[in-house]
Amino acid sequence: MRIVVSIKRYNPEKKPQAYTQEFSLDVKPTDRVLDVLVSIKENQDSSLTFRKSCAHGVCGSDAMIINGQERLACKTLVKDVAQVDNDRIEVEPLRSMPIQRDLAVDQGVFFDNYRKIDPFLRPKEKPPKEEYRQSQKEREQFEDPTKCILCSACYSSCPVIEAGEKKFVGPAASAQAARFAFDTRDVGIAGRLEELDTPDGVAACDNHFNCTKVCPRGIKITKNINTLKKSIKKHKES
């Protein structure tokens, strides 16, 4: 089928303003949007810039806005966003991060926020000779956020971040805070209170649920944030 792909372009070396460019091409309904972008780059405009690597939704390189919503280009098939001939697919870079070139954005702040929550195990005991014991049930308590591929789709979708009125480390960093706080091997909330209980931590989340809707790994981000909020409160009261 033939589709029209309209891409928001920006290349400050050439032109100070962003503009929109349309490409028309033949595709299969089962092609990934990433395949479509690669085809445009190979056959129509080699200067089109975007990131890619794994091509099956596990590396987090190609989050972008496709038809108004944050998605991974490699996990979105043409048929998910275009049904009949001459349907348009609109592609834009993620929000709330500076555009570097075309669909590539600067995730510097996103990663800085991730680092802020101390995203590594802080063991509460010295390691035994073999493994720490942990039940499958205990593991399941923090499994959900371990799926995160740090694609920053959630960050782009977050209205609190976009408004910029209050500081917020963002959904992904918050979910990672929950990942460590609820790991039975970690010092947990008690040991992490200083980083967790800050105005720019989970407290800043207003429960818009956008992040949960867009997360390509299906992480229940808002739920993780709310559980962490409750646990912090409980911990402080006890």
């Binding site: 290349n11 400050p12 070396e13 050439k14 089962t30 780059k41 190979e42 056959n43 080699s46 200067s47 810039t49 975007f50 990131r51 890619k52 690597s53 794994c54 091509a55 099956h56 939704g57 596990v58 590396c59 987090g60 390189s61 996990k75 098939l77 570097q100 070139r101 075309d102 590539a104 995730q107 990663f111 680092r115 101390d118 995203p119 590594f120 195990l121 063991p123 390691p127 000779k129 073999e130 493994e131 720490y132 014991r133 942990q134 039940s135 499958q136 205990e138 593991r139 923090f142 499994e143 371990t146 799926k147 591929i149 740090l150 460590f180 790991d183 091997r185 970690d186």
Partner: protein, 581 residues
């Protein structure tokens, strides 16, 4: 721009990160930096699914010695046996180390690390399949990559992200640093270092159907080959039996470890005919050939011996619980990319180019060999998929690559750090980046209309069809000629994007040239090995020939020719025997 460092690690996958982490634990080494063309967490280690092998014996008796034997036998006796012992022995502590650093392994009822069956891993030297693969759902690699990145953040390792390695500086027999291209600015950076460790990963992108990421273009081995250094056993490339039809996306062997069954168009469990003991858990080379043979005999699902036919991986008897809890990502890939639900419908699969057993020759401490006599290139190290220790021989067992990363990544990291602690910077020329600069200028100045995507497609088809699962002398000779022509055409390649910043077209072109060099080396090494061993299966030489070919290939590039030499294999523990399962 110039940087002066103690150690520079190139690559931020499992091998590079573990090496950097281990090096950062040495207090005598001050400046360690990791240079990577991808952000660390985007590395392809994150795609590894099934698990990491270690004889923990959490569910049934197991021993490192059995693991080492399986590795040797799986590799069709081209494995260096003392290295395999190190691999199996140190796997155990390395897995515990990862767990202590937070890796969320699945658990047994007792709260220990859970283990599943995997191809070629057996108890008591081949008696029956054993539970050896430690796993975190079907995202083991993702968890390893995350855990190691987290630990590097903790140890404040410095990263230069989206920097592409273009050159390794070697004077005589001493490595002095590297030159890398900064994607964000288009500038060249010279990293003057006491020691360099390459961990640039795989090169499956030379084949049409592959499980490998776009970034897997073998830049590290290629840059060394371009300077005439040898690469080892490049003819051994593993095709994984189960890639998603047409796309190559991997369906982990863990699916068969949990009980999945391969079936042909008659619904027959055809592995009963090829490997009566291990069945669907036989080593990968055997199963990939079995699938291809079924297809050639008209037993593919489409019954079309020509073209891209496929077989079924039947998971419908495993139940929702196993699929959604132990194989959640696989289940989702099927739903996303094939619109099928593996709970009720078998998965359409075909072999996919997966893993390079060969690479940069190293000793068990990651030091790079410059020739077959064992001369070390001072200050140069390699680890991970780009290296060849050799613990995978002619065919790698599932779960052994992740073990390789953490065991030999760690060893290389520790030895590179001790080396750097006692070494001085070797002087480098003022224009150390000249060669890299020339590579870029050559591409910007050419005005021909050779198109890189045309060359790329032709390379991938040529390698898949001529140097693929089944090989023969004539087809390989043709493939060599074609690859030579493509390399000739590639000399005229030009880049039309003239922008300095984020010029991905320029880097795509560099990667293509690297792949072409590795393709030539692979094809020539394969052509000269007149026997069948592990993943190298020749129709014209169907048997293994220990008398003439129980030896490692060392192939070095000299302009358009490949020079071959051979080195003996360490068989000091187990005598080579025919490989039956």
């Amino acid at each position: 721009m110039k940087h002066e460092l103690d150690v520079v690690v190139v690559g931020a996958g499992g091998a590079g990160l573990y090496a950097a982490l281990e090096a950062s634990r040495n207090k005598k080494v001050k400046n360690i930096a990791v240079v990577s063309k991808l952000f660390p967490v985007r590395s392809h280690t994150g795609a590894a699914q099934g698990g990491i092998g270690a004889a923990l014996g959490n569910l049934e008796e197991d021993k490192p010695e059995w693991h080492a034997f399986d590795t040797v036998k799986g590799g069709d006796y081209l494995v260096d046996q003392q290295a395999a012992m190190i691999l199996a022995n140190e796997a155990v502590d390395s897995v515990y180390d990862l767990e202590h650093n937070g890796l969320p392994f699945n658990r047994t009822e007792e709260g220990k690390i859970d283990q599943r069956r995997f191809g070629g891993h057996t108890r008591n030297f081949g008696e029956a399949a054993v539970r050896r693969s430690c796993y975190a759902a079907d995202r083991t690699g993702h968890m390893i990559l995350q855990t190691l990145y987290q630990q590097c953040i903790k140890n404040k390792v410095a990263f230069f992200n989206e920097f592409h390695l273009l050159d390794v500086l070697i004077d005589g027999n001493t490595c002095q640093g590297i030159v890398a291209y900064d994607l964000a600015t288009g500038e060249l950076h010279t990293f003057h270092a006491k020691a360099v460790l390459l961990a640039t990963g795989g090169f499956g992108r030379m084949f049409r159907i592959t499980s490998n990421a776009f970034a897997n273009t073998g830049d590290g081995p290629a840059v060394l080959a371009q300077q005439g250094l040898p690469l080892e056993d490049m003819e051994f490339f593993q095709f994984h039996p189960t890639g998603i039809r047409g796309m190559g996306i991997l369906i982990t062997e863990g699916v068969r470890g949990e009980g999945g069954i391969l079936r042909n168009c008659d619904g027959e469990r055809f592995m009963e005919r090829y490997a009566p003991t291990l069945l669907d858990l036989a080593p990968r080379d055997m199963i990939a050939r079995a699938i291809t043979t079924e297809i050639l005999n008209g037993k593919g699902i489409l019954k079309k011996p020509q073209g891209d036919d496929y077989v079924h991986l039947d998971t419908t008897h495993l139940g929702k619980e196993v699929l959604e809890k132990k194989l959640p990502d696989i289940t989702e890939f099927c739903r996303t990319y094939q619109d099928i639900d593996p709970i009720t419908t078998p998965i359409p699969v075909q072999p996919t180019a997966h893993y390079g057993m060969g690479g940069i020759p190293t000793d068990v401490n990651g030091q790079v060999f410059g020739d077959t006599k064992g001369t070390i290139v001072e200050g140069l190290y390699a680890a991970g998929e780009c290296a060849c220790v050799s613990v995978h021989g002619a065919n790698r067992l599932g779960t052994n690559s992740l073990v390789d990363l953490i065991v030999f990544g760690k060893r290389a990291g520790s030895s590179v750090a001790s080396f750097a602690a006692g070494a001085q910077h070797q002087p480098i020329p003022v224009n150390a980046d000249d060669r890299a600069k020339k590579r870029i200028i050559d591409l910007s100045n050419s005005s021909s209309n050779v198109k890189q995507d045309v060359l790329r497609k032709k390379m991938r088809d040529t390698m898949m069809d001529g140097v693929g699962i089944f090989r023969n002398g004539n087809d390989m000779a043709d493939a060599i000629e074609t690859i030579k022509e493509l390399r000739e055409d590639a000399k005229d390649l030009s880049v039309s994007d003239a922008n300095a910043k984020y010029n991905t077209e320029l880097m795509d072109t560099m990667e293509l040239k690297n792949l072409l060099d590795l393709s030539l080396i692979t094809a020539v090494s394969a052509h000269n090995r007149q026997e069948s061993r592990g993943a190298h299966a020749r129709e014209d030489f169907p048997d293994r020939d220990d008398a003439n070919f129980l030896k490692h290939t060392y192939a070095s590039l000299n302009k358009d020719e490949v020079r071959l030499e051979y080195k003996s294999v360490d068989t000091s523990i187990w005598e080579p025997k025919p490989r039956k399962y």
